[in-house]
């Protein structure tokens, strides 16, 4: 993997943001390929531990959206 | 009405409309015979690429 690869972990709510990411695909929008989506049932599912853990695993940024 | 009704329906045509009629009826408690003259169901919609206005895949 290239050194300068940025890694963004995104936690997307199944009901809104995950659907929005689907829609971005349907609309053929383009965005950088640095994000990795983890689908969660609701942003209420988010625990601070997930964010800390993502950083510990080398994420450059964490994005929670819901 | 004294005549005994038959609880089944013949659906002629296996396009999107015929298929969905058949599904609705079968799911509501009627026996369905779906009749299609071609070798497969799906009709014209199966030949389409995308559908308007969402550009969803027709399949």
């Amino acid at each position: 993997m290239a050194e300068n690869n940025i890694k963004i972990v995104s936690f997307l709510c199944n009901w809104c943001s995950y659907g929005a990411a689907d829609l971005a695909g349907v609309s053929r929008m383009e965005y950088p390929a640095d994000i990795r989506v983890i689908r969660i049932p609701c942003s209420g599912r988010m625990s601070p531990k997930f964010i800390l853990s993502a950083f510990r695993e080398g994420a450059d940024a964490v994005w929670v959206s819901g | 009405m004294n005549k005994q009704l038959i609880g089944s329906v013949v659906v002629i045509g296996g396009g999107i409309s015929g298929m969905l009629s058949a599904l609705d009826l079968a799911n509501s408690g009627y026996y369905v015979y779906l009749v299609e003259k071609g070798p497969s169901i799906g009709g014209v919609m199966a030949q389409l690429d995308k559908t308007f206005p969402t550009n969803d895949c027709a399949m």
């Binding site: 965005y31 989506v37 049932p41 | 038959i6 609880g7 329906v9 409309s17 609705d24 690429d49 206005p53």
Partner: protein, 886 residues
């Protein structure tokens, strides 16, 4: 669609000449059986639904477009196949598309050498529609404008932005939900050219096979232009075969071969017991065909309601294999989605990579993982390889998860032993210019999904008790129709109507587009509904609250300051829409300036004022198709033309003008447009930036408009101006919140699926009908009313087999500290303290109320709560998998 081969008996050598027989030899499944012959079977059934569909118009006979002779003139159906990843060119837009990909004939080979990526494509509208000179199809095919716009947009997407797409049309007809915005986007965002003209002729450059066209533009100038390809937007036709069968069935057809129906029974043919749906019942698009389908099912079922459940059998449930305690044996399936994924991602590499991941026993790539053959192969693989967890890397779980879960169930696996990851919408579609990075990302996503799947456990779904009474909100045409059908099927139904009588906006209408008197049939329907023992009508009543979920709703209703409660299982929202009150054209300043509904009222009461009118003007799109209301109100063109004809019939000497933007008389309503022109109604077009001007000068009323033929301003003195006002939604946010259903920007309800779920909401147990969905005429409102009933019926019929999701929270009582955070935080009141038993005082979760959001899980300080399907260790496993270096 079942991807199964069939033998064409007309050309099979074995069947015709008893030669060959190769297919029998090579088929490993021994599926070939030449001895099968035609059989005649007699079926006794209670009803028939006839939905024969249409045939695309064959333009070979049109000599001016030379479809039969020019290789680069093709039909829209052919172009549809060219755009498709499974089509002859695998989605690549190229000239000479009718040739085989690798031609064998010498002549074809020479032509194929001239193949190029087209730079300019033209669409010709109304080929085989709205035309009685070249063919006998006077009607509008309803769908061609939209599909041409779609094909142009997708073509540009496939071929790149510099592709020049032009659509040659007479009127742009985009009267469906979200269609107008699609059309506007095509112009503004995608840069598609719209040229209002009928192309006179097409010639071909014999060398290059480029196509030269000649037409007269908006300013009367003759224009010559060259295109690489021409797509003929062919109309929908009823085949001779369909007409012949209709005759055998004994049902009446219109002069164009469509089925004759009554607006109030829009899916019932002239013969008792035969119901019709789809394009055969007037040209229509997919959602309208889908509504027809459910409506026909409802009509056919209502006639047989006493025999329901007499012939059906219940599904045999496949015994679930117990995998608890087994080491995970994961099967990973990578979908190409035709070229949608494979066009960008190296699916083979991803599949090979998946095989190297921990616990993965098996990985396979398939062209369309969702196709039936791929599904049955998957079942075989699961059984053969003894797989106990499945990972699918394909499109979005939001649409396809249930399908794959069913496949798991069919192979005996609990449907939650499954994980889906989205390598299409979130990957190939959005990173199409970075195939390497997209492939890497797909590998990461698969690795994360595998890590999560390894921790998946079989989950249990709880049974839901369903209250089988129904509440219909809104007592207009759609609501009454829905209630009547559900009541006929034996369900207790309540209609909640805020006004003092049933019938809604239909009370204001004079005639339907087919000329039927609205009031007579409306009053009959009201009487039927009021006399139905299964229907309780609550007039002057409003809904004050709604709690609960499918099968278990509870509402407070208010009637004359009295409040009462109602428990029910299903809700149908049929709240309708209303006429827009115009804010322009001097409305309100002169009693001669009225709306379409005012004119209907005058007709209804046979107002004597009508006899004094010598000149009448209609202005279309008042409040519609403009930035603040960017949708077409669908019914106004037909309504005004209908009323114009009525005026002309009353007084043939009257001057009647219709000032319009596009005439949108879709389907057979086009015949009304023709009739109006024959009667001498004058049509004048205007542009939205050059609206007509209305002035009141003393006793006179003047309308000034720029005539599109003369390209000069004309002034019309009139005795009556009718404004064809927009239909506006009620934008009932309160109601939307009660049932957790969405509204679009304009305030119309958003249905479950624009194509396949037009009469229901994404919220389970809540259904939709009438103009609250989108403006619609009488017959379409009734169709949707019936459709909503049919969809609701499928749920009510499953009453005893309705289950919750398995994705719910549960408590480990040994860890619970009884702090009560989960109890107070849950918006659905699912967790509560156990009041008895061994764990009295500890929290427990009601599985029926739990929505599986995980809020309580995240808030639990003791780690006592788990969210099945999205458990903490599963999410951690995804995060850890991401950290692994590949």
């Amino acid at each position: 669609m079942p991807l199964k081969y069939a033998i064409n008996p007309d050309i099979c050598l074995k069947l015709t000449k008893d030669k060959c027989g190769t297919c029998e030899e090579v088929c490993p499944a021994n599926a070939i059986d030449y001895t099968q012959t035609e059989e005649h079977i007699t079926i006794n059934a209670g009803s028939i639904i006839y939905s024969p569909g249409f045939t695309p118009f064959d333009p070979s006979k049109f000599d001016n477009y030379q479809y039969a002779n020019f290789p680069n003139v093709i039909t829209s159906m052919e172009f549809e196949r060219i755009l498709s990843a499974t089509g002859p060119t695998m989605g690549h837009v190229t000239t000479f598309p009718k040739l085989p990909l690798n031609p064998k004939k010498k002549k074809d080979k020479l032509l194929a050498q001239k193949r190029k990526d087209p730079k300019k494509i033209a669409w010709f509208q109304c080929v085989g529609s709205r035309d009685i000179n070249k063919c006998d199809n006077p009607y509008c095919s309803s769908v061609c404008c939209m599909y041409a716009v779609k094909e142009a947009i997708i073509a540009k997407e496939h071929a790149g932005g510099d592709l020049d797409c032009s659509i040659f049309y007479m009127d742009m007809r985009t009267p469906g939900k979200e269609f107008e915005k699609y059309y506007e986007n095509a112009k503004d965002k995608h840069g598609i050219n719209f040229i209002r003209t009928k192309v006179h002729s097409v010639t071909e450059n014999p060398e290059t096979h480029d196509l030269n066209i000649r037409y007269v533009d908006d300013f009367g100038q003759i224009v010559d232009d060259t295109y690489d390809m021409i797509v003929l937007s062919v109309g929908l036709e009823i085949s001779e075969e369909t007409k012949a069968l209709s005759e055998k069935l004994g049902i009446d057809l219109t002069s164009n071969g469509f089925c004759k129906t009554n607006s109030f029974e829009p899916v019932t043919s002239s013969r008792d017991g035969i119901y019709i749906s789809g394009v055969f019942n007037n040209p229509k698009d997919i959602p309208d065909s889908v509504l027809d389908a459910s409506a026909a099912a409802s009509a056919a079922g209502d006639a047989l309601s006493s025999a329901r459940d007499t012939l059906t059998k219940s599904v045999e449930k496949i015994e679930e294999i117990n995998v608890v305690g087994e080491r995970p044996r994961i099967g990973a399936f990578i979908c190409d989605c035709g070229s949608n994924i494979k066009g960008v991602v190296d699916c083979e590499a991803v599949t090979e990579y998946a095989k190297t991941l921990p616990y993965v026993e098996f990985a396979d790539e398939s062209m369309y993982a969702c196709s039936q053959d791929a599904q049955s192969k998957m079942v075989d693989f699961i059984k053969e390889k003894n797989l106990n967890r499945i990972v699918i890397a394909a499109c979005t779980p939001k649409t396809h998860e249930p399908l794959f879960q069913e496949t798991l169930a069919n192979s005996g696996l609990n449907k939650y032993l499954f994980e889906m990851t989205n390598i299409r919408n979130h990957n190939s579609w959005v990173h199409k210019n970075n195939p390497d990075i997209a492939t890497q990302k797909a590998k990461d996503l698969v690795r994360m999904a595998v890590a999560k799947a390894a921790l998946a456990e079989p989950l249990k779904e709880e049974k839901i008790n369903v209250n089988d009474s129904v509440v219909v909100v809104g007592g207009g045409l759609a609501g009454m129709t829905s209630a009547k059908s559900l009541a006929t099927q034996g369900y207790s139904t309540h209609i909640i109507e805020k006004n003092n009588q049933l019938g809604g906006e239909a009370h204001k209408l004079y005639k339907t587009a087919q000329g039927e008197d609205v009031q007579t049939q409306l009053n009959e329907l009201i009487k039927e509904v009021e006399n139905n023992d299964n229907i309780t009508v609550h007039c002057n009543t409003t809904l004050e609250s709604a709690d609960g979920f499918v099968g278990n709703f509870k509402s407070t209703l208010k009637s004359d300051d009295k409040e009462f409660e109602l428990e029910y299982g299903i809700a149908v929202l049929a709240t309708g829409a209303k006429a827009f009150v115009p804010d322009e054209y001097e409305y309100g300043n002169d009693e001669r300036i009225i709306t379409s509904l005012d004119l209907d009222k005058m007709f209804k009461v046979n107002d004597t004022k009508l006899d004094t009118i010598n000149s009448a003007v209609f202005i279309q799109c008042v409040g519609s198709r403009q930035p603040d209301r960017p949708y077409c109100s669908r019914v106004c063109c037909t309504h005004s033309i209908d009323n114009a004809i009525e005026l002309k019939k009353r007084n043939p000497k009257m001057n009647v003008f219709i000032i319009y933007r596009d005439i949108r008389t879709y389907g057979e309503s086009e015949l009304l447009y023709k009739e109006a022109r024959n009667l001498g109604v004058i049509f004048i077009r205007y542009e939205v930036d050059k609206k007509p001007e209305v002035t009141i000068k003393g006793k006179n009323l003047f309308i000034k408009v720029t005539d599109h033929v003369l390209n000069m301003p004309v002034e019309i003195k009139t005795d009556m101006l009718t404004l064809a006002t927009a239909i506006v939604p009620r934008k009932d946010e309160k109601l939307a919140n009660f049932f957790k259903v969405p509204l679009n920007d304009e305030g119309f309800f958003i249905e479950k699926h624009a194509k396949l779920g037009p009469a229901e909401f994404a919220t389970s147990g809540v259904f939709l009908a009438g103009s609250g969905h989108y403006p619609k005429p009488v017959n379409e409102a009734i169709t949707q009313g019936r459709a909503s009933a049919s969809r609701a019926l499928t749920l009510l019929a499953k009453k005893d087999s309705l289950f919750t999701s398995g994705i719910i929270a549960n408590v480990d009582p040994l860890k619970c500290s009884e702090c009560g955070v989960c109890v107070s935080i849950c918006p659905y009141s699912a967790p509560m303290f156990a009041t008895e038993g061994r764990f009295e005082g500890k929290a427990e979760v009601n599985p029926v109320l739990c929505k599986g959001c995980g809020l309580c899980v995240a808030s639990c300080r003791s780690g006592a709560l788990h969210l099945r399907g999205f458990d903490t260790n599963q999410i951690f496993s995804q995060i850890f998998a991401l950290g692994e270096v590949v």
